[in-house]
């Protein structure tokens, strides 16, 4: 686990005001927003502290705050990008916010992906559905300094073609010859012109069979996908300590106080959200 890097504002619960400068609909109910700080000091603080893997609490006054990752990489700190699915009270309010509107952001909180430790290694990114955003932050952090890494493979699956997020970036990665992109949709989710794979992520991963040799895997997805994908990774020879994933629990404070994100003795908000598969294995599985 890496050290916590945190800001120390006067009031730890006071959010920064952000302006929506762009928004993009990724999939039905899923939206990406690009936010810019209004207060230069707050922006400076963010630049100093933000590292890939950290999360924030995005909010609208009157509705509350909701936790999700910073989907933009640590190599691009001029703005914050976040991607969320409209489901609850806060995300519904965020979804109705338009370019030019103001929202709030509190963070960045939590730990980070130890990207320096990945230098010189091959990278395997695996994501399912709406869980591409945290992975994307790592992907861009690495692609923005591509020369420091070996082979880069991205395996991304979604339920249907429509559910794939970051479609424009997928295209971009597809075109790059220094990235190996494997796309898949669940059986029945393909469109007539779908040229990629059909199948569930674990199966597709095994078919694509990237080598575990000198390779770090970053895995994000719904709990059930993670469970099966970990098995597949094991089959492919990955050590649990070389597999990184993120946990996303309900949070209110993000600061290790409010008491609801704990899994066993772990405060996901402070000691996570990034964990190795080895660390996750030590947690009480029933509480995940």
């Amino acid at each position: 686990m890496t050290e916590n890097i945190h800001s120390a504002p006067q009031n730890i619960y006071k959010p920064a005001i952000m302006k929506i400068v762009a928004r993009h609909d990724e999939a039905p109910g899923v939206r990406t927003m690009r936010l810019e700080f209004q207060d230069p000091a707050e922006h400076e603080q963010f630049k100093e502290t933000f590292r890939t893997g950290m999360f924030g609490l995005y909010g609208i006054y009157g509705e509350g705050e909701s936790t999700f990752c910073v989907a933009s990489p640590e190599t691009r700190k001029e703005y914050i990008e976040c991607t969320f699915r409209q489901s609850g009270r806060v995300t519904s309010a965020l979804a109705s916010a338009d370019v030019g509107d103001l929202v709030t952001f509190r963070g960045p909180y939590g730990n980070r992906f130890p990207i320096e430790d990945f230098y010189g290694k091959n990278l395997l990114f695996i994501a399912g559905g709406i869980a591409l955003p945290p992975t994307r932050s790592v992907i861009w952090s690495c692609l923005d300094q591509r020369e420091k890494f070996g082979k880069v493979t991205i395996v991304y699956g979604a339920r249907t073609v429509a559910d794939l997020v970051y479609k424009h970036e997928l295209e971009e990665w597809q075109k790059r010859d220094d990235v190996d992109l494997v796309l898949a949709v669940d059986p029945g989710g393909e469109s007539p012109d779908w040229k990629h794979r059909v199948g569930f992520v674990p199966t597709v991963l095994e078919e694509a069979a990237p080598s575990a040799e000198n390779c770090v895997a970053v895995l994000c997805g719904p709990p059930i996908m993670i469970k099966f994908t970990l098995n597949s990774l094991k089959k492919l020879g990955f050590e649990e300590s070389n597999v990184y994933t993120t946990l996303e629990n309900r949070m209110k404070c993000g600061l290790g106080k409010c008491g609801r994100c704990n899994v066993g003795s772990v405060y996901v908000c402070k000691e996570g959200p990034v964990f190795t598969a080895a660390e996750v294995a030590l947690m009480p599985q029933a509480d995940l």
Partner: protein, 656 residues
């Protein structure tokens, strides 16, 4: 955030005289989420509507609030304008700053502040509006008319003559209703049967009308355009397809002393009978309760007498299922049982009769062939006392309302009596004479002036028998003295009341009724022929006491409503309906009980293996009228009303 356009209408001076529209527009312009805020003299005018449309297009508005008059006036206008500009019409709302603001306030400043509040709260609502789509309901173009009296016949004929199918259900063995019982009708004194019979025949022979007599509506399901109706065909014990109506069986029936319903008990009938000579269909039924064969297992005289072998004692009630698009309820009325007036001696003295019985006495086809004879001894009465308001306008023993027709028919009775019994003397005790109607007042004047009906203003306190005479004691309130009249016959102008089973029937059909059991119209003034349930209309005295012209007029009005409904293949309905959140529904069925339209059903949620894991409420969008009763009842807060969601209402309140 949304871009809401706010359009503040001056309504000429109606609004602008009190509300500072310029200030309102400025304040609203600064309201978060408002994309345009403008004022104009008349937004409902063509240029006004055009400017709304233009603003929607130019500013990419996501919603519209028109601050103007009541939504009753122009909601439809502006929703249409929005639709024409490419905006979902349900993203448009009206903020009423006229009836609810400028018209009711004196202080301009306060009115302006209030207008701002009203509009702001509506802006907050519109921000949370959803793009609703109208609900399309297919329409079965077949009408059901319940009740074969004059109202039902008229409605059926009007619909059928316009080319639409009609099923006409009558629970008695024959069409006709009360009008067939009447002698002459006011104010023209033409013979009721003479004008009624042709209509009955026309209805029975109309190719578009399916006539079901001796039949009752058992069950009504479904909703406007799509009712499913079950009709019970009561066993007639006579095969009506083969029966020619020759009447042999009736002549031969040994059971001859049964009281005739049609003659209101003053005539007799047999056990196998047709209610009256001109009955349509003119085919008998067997009164099972009084038939010797059914009682003793012996007789079968009718079987022997029938040349065509039509009698079938084994016959059972049958059920017919009908698909119906619209229903006209014309179930009529009854007369109150005057036994409640013990002091008038009704039921105790044979010669105290009610108005309907008098009609039968006066009717040429009645038991006395139109002669006015005392039921007790068949003598011609020399003196008759008519007592008006025998039940009506009497909250203590009778009903609170006015039965509307009694003043007129009592005048008519006095007139008929004068014409038939020369020298007969009539006294009419009345409270006041209500003769509003075409030719009505002239008619009562005629009774008084030409036919010398003796009108006494006052109430009768007691009727008793003395020396073969009925002694009537009352008061003449104009002269301020008690009156006592010795009469040979007393006729009570009995109150019109709903059918005794009207409330149960209303439950079957799913319509509302008032405290008496008269069916409720959707709006007393503006929707007088519609029931509270869409697709069900009312005609005749089942809604309130009515005379023949009123009944016929309402029947035709109902028919026009039905025909309007049938003018389209599909019905577009407001999508303002209840929606249940199945995830949080506790399945207590409170909503099912609370729903006045039977629009909520129980639905099973199954797991993959088909096992019921949960039962929840489910709203039928065709039936739901969007009244919101279920929403208020739902304890777990699971039901919401589209167009008026709790989120919207909450925002509206919080925006104030």
């Amino acid at each position: 955030m949304s871009k809401i356009g706010v359009f503040i209408c001056h309504c000429g001076e109606n609004i602008a005289a009190k509300v500072d529209c310029t200030r309102v527009a400025e304040v609203l312009g600064d309201h978060p989420g408002v994309g345009a805020s403008v004022e104009y003299k008349y937004f409902c005018s063509d240029p006004g509507q055009e400017s709304v449309k233009r603003a929607i297009r130019e500013n990419n508005l996501t919603g519209v609030v028109v601050a103007a008059c009541s939504p009753r006036m122009h909601e439809a206008t502006f929703r249409k304008a929005c639709a024409e500009a490419g905006l979902n019409p349900y993203m448009c709302e009206i903020a009423n700053i006229r009836e609810q603001c400028s018209w009711v306030h004196n202080d301009g400043e306060q009115a302006t502040d209030k207008a701002i509040d009203i509009i702001r709260s509506m802006v907050e609502k519109v921000k949370r509006n959803n793009m609703l789509q109208p609900i399309e309901v297919p329409v079965t173009r077949r009408a059901l008319v319940i009740g074969g009296g004059i109202a039902g016949i008229q409605a059926a004929l009007d619909i059928a003559n316009a080319g639409q199918e009609v099923v006409l259900v009558e629970r008695e063995p024959s069409l006709g209703g009360h009008m067939a019982q009447l002698s002459e009708t006011f104010p023209t004194l033409d013979c009721s049967q003479c004008i009624m019979t042709p209509r009955m025949v026309e209805a029975s022979q109309h190719p578009k009308i399916r006539l079901l007599t001796y039949a009752e509506v058992e069950h009504v399901d479904g909703y406007i355009g799509n009712f499913k109706v079950k009709v019970r065909m009561k066993a007639r014990y006579v095969n009506k397809d083969t029966c020619t109506g020759c009447g042999e069986c009736i002549t031969k029936c040994p059971q001859k002393k049964l009281s005739s319903e049609f003659d209101c008990g003053i005539g007799k009938r047999t056990a196998i009978y047709t209610p009256f000579a001109q009955a349509v269909p003119n085919k008998p039924v067997i009164d099972k309760d009084n038939c010797t064969y059914f009682k003793n297992g012996k007789c079968k005289v009718c079987v022997k007498s029938c040349p065509l072998d039509c009698i079938d004692f084994e016959m059972q009630d049958e059920f017919i299922d009908l698909e119906i698009g619209a229903i006209v309820v014309a179930t009529g009325f009854q007369v109150q049982n005057n036994a409640v007036y013990g002091e008038y001696g009704y039921g105790k003295y044979a010669d105290v009769i009610n108005g309907l019985q008098f009609e039968r006495l006066a009717s040429a086809s009645g038991p006395t062939s139109g002669k006015i004879l005392r039921p007790s001894d068949g003598k011609e009465p020399e003196n008759i006392v008519f007592i008006q308001c025998a039940g009506s306008r009497d909250p203590s023993k009778g009903v609170k309302y006015c039965s509307k027709i009694c003043c007129m028919y009592t005048a008519k009775h006095a007139m008929l009596y004068a014409h038939k019994v020369h020298g007969g003397k009539s006294n009419i005790f009345y409270m006041d004479i209500r003769a509003a109607g075409k030719g009505y007042d002239e008619f009562t004047r005629r009774a008084i002036e030409e036919d010398e009906a003796g009108y006494v203003r006052g109430r009768v306190s007691k009727v008793w028998q003395e020396n073969g005479k009925l002694m009537v004691r009352g008061a003449d309130t104009l002269l301020g003295r008690p009156v006592e009249v010795a009469a040979d016959m007393v006729v009570l102008a009995t109150a019109m009341v709903p059918q005794p089973d009207a409330k149960d029937f209303a439950k079957v059909v799913g319509i509302g009724y008032d405290e008496y059991g008269f069916f409720n119209e959707a709006h007393l003034k503006l929707r007088p022929v519609e029931s509270s349930t869409a697709g069900i209309y009312l005609a005749g005295a089942c809604q309130s006491p009515k005379d023949i012209p009123d009944s016929v007029a309402q029947a035709s009005a109902s028919a026009s409503k039905v025909l309007a409904l049938f003018s389209k293949e599909k019905l577009e309905r407001e999508p303002v309906i209840a929606v249940n959140n199945e995830a949080t529904c506790a399945g207590c069925w409170g909503c099912v009980l609370a729903c006045p339209y039977n629009a909520i059903e129980k639905k099973d949620i199954l797991d993959r293996s088909g096992k019921v894991i949960k039962r929840v409420a489910s709203v039928n969008p065709g039936l739901c009228q969007g009244c919101g009763t279920c929403v208020t009842f739902c304890r777990s807060n699971s039901i919401d009303l589209a167009g008026f969601t709790e989120k919207q209402i909450f925002a509206e309140v919080m925006g104030l």
